[in-house]
């Protein structure tokens, strides 16, 4: 066994001194033995992992940056500041911010309800919340069209409301439609992050606060929130990442380039145009999304790091 290990040590390019001179001693110490025995498996796994990561993630992303800058910084800036791009960025940000606000609020309510109360139908509700995870986003978008589109059953209701309010809000092929679709696909993120944390926490501390005379809102602010704040922030970040990148659901309800297109749709449109210029532009706009993604990734790391100490 030991001989074998020593040989392997040499093959793996360990220093000859360790292999020969050290003999028993060199491999006798605990650490050396451990890594010696398990040596090949972790190295293989790491190699596979790194390779996969490089091929599937890093190279394509580098490619995006490279392609976007291929025609020089000027054409990159032109692409990024093009009217359609700015409009798409605006729509993306509007949809993401509203989706975040709405989902944070409803996510909190849902997790509060599911973890602190007992009621009939609790499990059904818990499953319903996950629907956006299991349904293809395109179907979600189409469902909105079926409901709120020209032929949809809810359209007369929306028109009625518009009449009363004197507004002209349309829920499909418009920014509200994009917002709705984004909310739909990002709905479970916050509650799914919160539920395990709140479940683990139980409701003992809340009950203690009740017995000390605290009201609901005080209990939430002073007892519940400090425990869930990092999980909540983490959920919000995941939610944001998904909101920025959503394609399918938004694609179904958004058809007007420069008006209701989000960044992913704009990129798709540029790419599909097919000319060499527009493809470069598509990559340039993509780099915006990559930048957003990297920012989110860094935030996520910070939150995870902070959350560890506080959970």
């Amino acid at each position: 066994m030991r001989e074998e290990m020593r040989d392997r040590g040499r093959q793996d390019g360990l220093s000859p001194k360790q292999g020969e001179g050290g003999g028993e001693m060199a491999f006798g110490n605990g650490d050396g033995q451990k890594s010696g025995q398990k040596g090949i498996v972790p190295i293989l796994l790491i190699a596979v992992g790194v390779l996969f990561f490089l091929v599937m993630l890093v190279l394509p992303l580098v490619e995006v940056i490279y392609r976007s800058l291929k025609d020089g910084l000027e054409s990159y800036m032109n692409a990024v500041t093009a009217e359609n791009t700015i409009a798409a960025l605006k729509v993306t940000l509007i949809a993401a911010v509203i989706a975040l606000a709405v989902n944070t609020f409803f996510g909190l309510c849902a997790s509060w309800l599911l973890t602190k109360f007992e009621f009939p139908g609790k499990h059904v509700l818990s499953v319903l919340i996950d629907i956006p995870f299991s349904i293809s986003p395109v179907i979600a978008g189409l469902a909105y069209i079926m409901t709120f589109g020209r032929m949809g059953w809810a359209t007369p209701i929306v028109e009625q409301i518009n009449e009363w309010l004197g507004t002209d809000i349309s829920l499909v092929f418009s920014i509200p439609g994009v917002v709705l679709a984004t909310i739909f696909v990002t709905f479970p993120f916050v509650s799914r992050e919160l539920i395990p944390v709140m479940q683990a926490q139980g409701s003992k501390e809340e009950e203690a606060a009740v017995m000390l005379g605290a009201r609901g809102l005080t209990i939430f602010r002073k007892v519940t929130f400090p425990h869930i704040k990092w999980a909540l922030l983490y959920g919000i970040i995941l939610c944001a990442a998904r909101a920025f990148g959503e394609f399918g659901a938004v694609y179904a309800v958004s058809k007007a380039r420069g008006k209701t297109f989000t960044l992913p749709l704009e990129i798709d449109a540029l790419y599909m145009a097919g000319s060499a210029d527009s493809i470069t532009q598509a990559f340039a706009v993509s780099s915006l999304l990559v930048a957003l993604a990297i920012i989110i990734l860094i935030l996520k790391q910070i939150v995870e790091y902070c959350g560890k100490d506080n959970r």
């Binding site: 501390e205 009950e207 203690a208 606060a209 000390l212 005379g213 605290a214 009201r215 002073k222």
Partner: protein
């Protein structure tokens, strides 16, 4: 302030947690709700607190029916099992919580918190977090936190369950003294009879949602009202067929009985001092001897039934297989839902206490 429950019923689905529970704990008394786990004792405590709503019946605090007063307005102190301290708050903030909720002044809060910190013996620890404290210290914080808003009634759910056996006895004494010092009416839940006997003025025995018996610890021990209580309190094994023992001829045949170790005396056949008692005694053979720290526990076979008794180490040496005289003073005879104490008729007129 006294607390009273009147005809309380509570079901969780098909599980009956409380069946027609009625009792009263007087001002300044310390009472224990004692019962096996799942007997419904914690539910009773939670109904008094308002954390659980009874299906029927009244909870009365100081003469007022509080059924519809929410928990946060009942002004009852509650010490939770495992304490449920606010983990992200210091000891000071934990104790101050109830006062901050009442919007008390800064100085008033500080004074009251420091007073309590001193009362529970945690001087200099008020800046620590719960995870930096030992189990016993956490219990003290939980106690101080519950007392901070000056409640008139204190409820404690298994207050010693999370503490290791060694410190537990110490804390029992401490808690009992503390409650006496504060003079607050208190009610605590436990599954440990030794704990209930050591701490409480009064014990309520709960079984399957029913109040089996309430009374002073000694009363319950001496006069168990139901077969459950007779079995639950003290060390006791149930004998299936208690029949044919000298002095117990009146006992109906085929009854189950409980004969506690302290109801049984065994002495050697040549014991001069008790010669007059020999006619009242049965013959028995020692089948087992085990050392119980300060006494020996003898198991004897008498009339085909195993009885146990404790024997002082100061007495003469005995061996397994030795024949002894076995005297039974008393036995609890269990009936359907009742217990009767039968005394050895042959000992009538004998001063047993003098033995």
């Amino acid at each position: 302030m006294y607390v009273e429950m009147k005809g309380i019923n509570k079901n969780f689905g098909s599980y009956e947690a409380a069946k027609d529970i009625s009792f009263r704990v007087d001002q300044g008394h310390l009472a224990a709700l004692l019962g096996p786990s799942g007997s419904g004792k914690t539910t009773i405590l939670r109904m008094i607190a308002g954390l659980e709503q009874q299906d029927s019946g009244d909870v009365i605090v100081d003469g007022n029916v509080v059924n519809h007063i929410p928990a946060k307005e009942r002004g009852i102190g509650f010490v939770f099992q495992n304490y449920a301290l606010f983990r992200h708050m210091t000891v000071f903030e934990n104790i101050a919580f109830g006062l901050r909720v009442q919007k008390k002044g800064k100085k008033e809060i500080r004074d009251r918190v420091m007073e309590l910190v001193e009362l529970v013996g945690l001087e200099g620890m008020h800046k620590r977090y719960p995870h930096q404290l030992s189990g016993g210290q956490r219990q003290r914080v939980a106690f101080a936190r519950a007392l901070a808003p000056k409640p008139q009634l204190l409820l404690l759910d298994e207050p010693f369950a999370a503490i290791d056996a060694k410190v537990r006895k110490e804390l029992r004494v401490w808690l009992k003294e503390m409650i006496a010092q504060v003079g607050i009416t208190s009610l605590f839940v436990t599954h440990d009879q030794e704990e209930a006997v050591a701490v409480a003025d009064e014990i309520m025995i709960i079984n399957e949602g029913r109040l089996e018996q309430m009374g002073k610890p000694v009363e319950i021990y001496k006069k168990p009202k139901t077969s459950f209580v007779a079995q639950f309190i003290g060390t006791s094994a149930v004998l299936d067929d208690f029949d044919g023992f000298k002095g117990f001829e009146e006992v109906p045949k085929g009854r189950k009985a409980i004969v506690r170790p302290e109801f049984v005396e065994a002495f050697k056949n040549d014991n001069e001092k008790v010669r007059s008692l020999i006619p009242a005694a049965e013959k028995g053979v020692i089948t087992d001897i085990s050392f119980r720290g300060s006494t020996l526990e003898l198991t004897l076979e008498v009339n085909g039934i195993s009885l146990t008794t404790n024997r002082s180490l100061e007495r003469r040496h005995v061996e397994i297989g030795e024949e002894m005289c076995v005297l039974i003073y008393r036995a609890y005879i269990l009936e359907e839902d009742d217990t009767t104490v039968y005394k050895n008729q042959m000992l009538k007129g004998v001063d047993v206490e003098a033995l």
